[in-house]
Symmetry: C2
DNA sequence: CCTACCGATCGGTAGG
DNA sequence: CCTACCGATCGGTAGG
């Protein structure tokens, strides 16, 4: 037998998988236990409640996006390049951690009000990075001068966040996807 | 007392409201009864099951989009104009019927496999109208010749479907929103 | 991580 | 549309 005991991390990962595919309310603790090969009640040695699990999954998603934004900021100052890095980093997060992303985007409503507010604030800060990059670029002449940075940020993030819903490796691979999104977006900003 | 009995239509509308805000699995029949001022068990004189309700809400959403596409096709042959009409019509559906749209977009996974396939097929046919409009426009020179109609359709629909998540009448009204989206999209297609 | 269990709530039915 | 109810399942606890 090579079977090992599950860690809290394993539990959160499996929870993300189920929350992403069936939704938080569509997933029971017994479902999750089955996924890990143990009884539903045994999960309570790893977590204090079902919502505790949701918080953990959602925060993982939030952290990934934040880390990606920080990398883009650290590595690229010029607006066009920074935006490309933001787009590329976002796509990596979506494709590398689809379950956390989907839960982060779709299941925040199941959180209690205080936690939900915190998560939405994190989302806003992330969007703000896109907005400021666009505003700087418009001011410097990299993008169209009449650009509305707030709306453009929303449109770009709409495209990025939807990727999880339709993309699966095929004729178009990850780099191709990044190139297509970047191209579509940059045309709009000129 | 002006209170009237609820019709099946009332029940479906209220169900859309709750499914959109809490999700299908996050809504109980008793919740829905409370919303309508009657007991959960009384709902079964209007519907045969909870899933019956979900199907009805989702199909309403699907029908609205289909009707919008048919109108665009009937009224505009020229690709640029037809696309504008598709965008405007889609935004109207999203803003006039947000609950049905959200349920249509987010809760299809809760449907049984057969119904879900039917709904996804309807979604595909709708997307196909966008794709064909873009392909025709690219062939005729209205849009860039190297345009990928499939990807462009996805990107445009990503922007349109996300509107429900962030738009609420403010400084930007419905017509302003339509103009901004159309502008952003058309720049990308040139 | 398991066994044995709890009260609450779930979708749904019978019979008016 | 209500009353009275059903078996199943829910999140969670006690005690090992």
């Amino acid at each position: 037998m090579v079977t090992t005991r599950n860690t809290r991390d394993d539990v959160i990962t499996a929870a993300g998988r189920l929350f992403a595919s069936r939704g938080y309310h569509g997933t029971s603790m017994r479902d999750l236990g089955r996924e890990l090969g143990l009884h539903g009640s045994s999960l309570y040695s790893h977590v204090t409640s079902k919502e505790d699990l949701l918080v953990a999954v959602v925060e993982r998603g939030a952290d990934r996006f934040q880390a990606s934004a920080e990398r883009a900021i650290a590595e690229h100052a010029e607006p066009t390049e920074r935006l490309r890095s933001l787009v590329s980093g976002h796509i990596d997060v979506v494709l590398d951690h689809p379950d956390e992303v989907k839960t982060f985007l779709d299941e925040a409503r199941a959180l209690d009000a205080r936690t939900r507010r915190r998560v939405l604030a994190a989302r806003d800060r992330y969007e703000q990075v896109f907005r400021e990059t666009l505003a700087t670029g418009a001011a410097q002449g990299s993008f169209a001068g009449d650009l509305d940075p707030k709306l453009a940020a929303i449109f770009i993030l709409s495209i990025l966040n939807a990727i999880e819903r339709w993309f699966h490796d095929g004729p178009l691979d990850r780099d191709g996807l990044k190139a297509e999104v970047t191209d579509f977006v940059e045309r709009s900003l000129r």
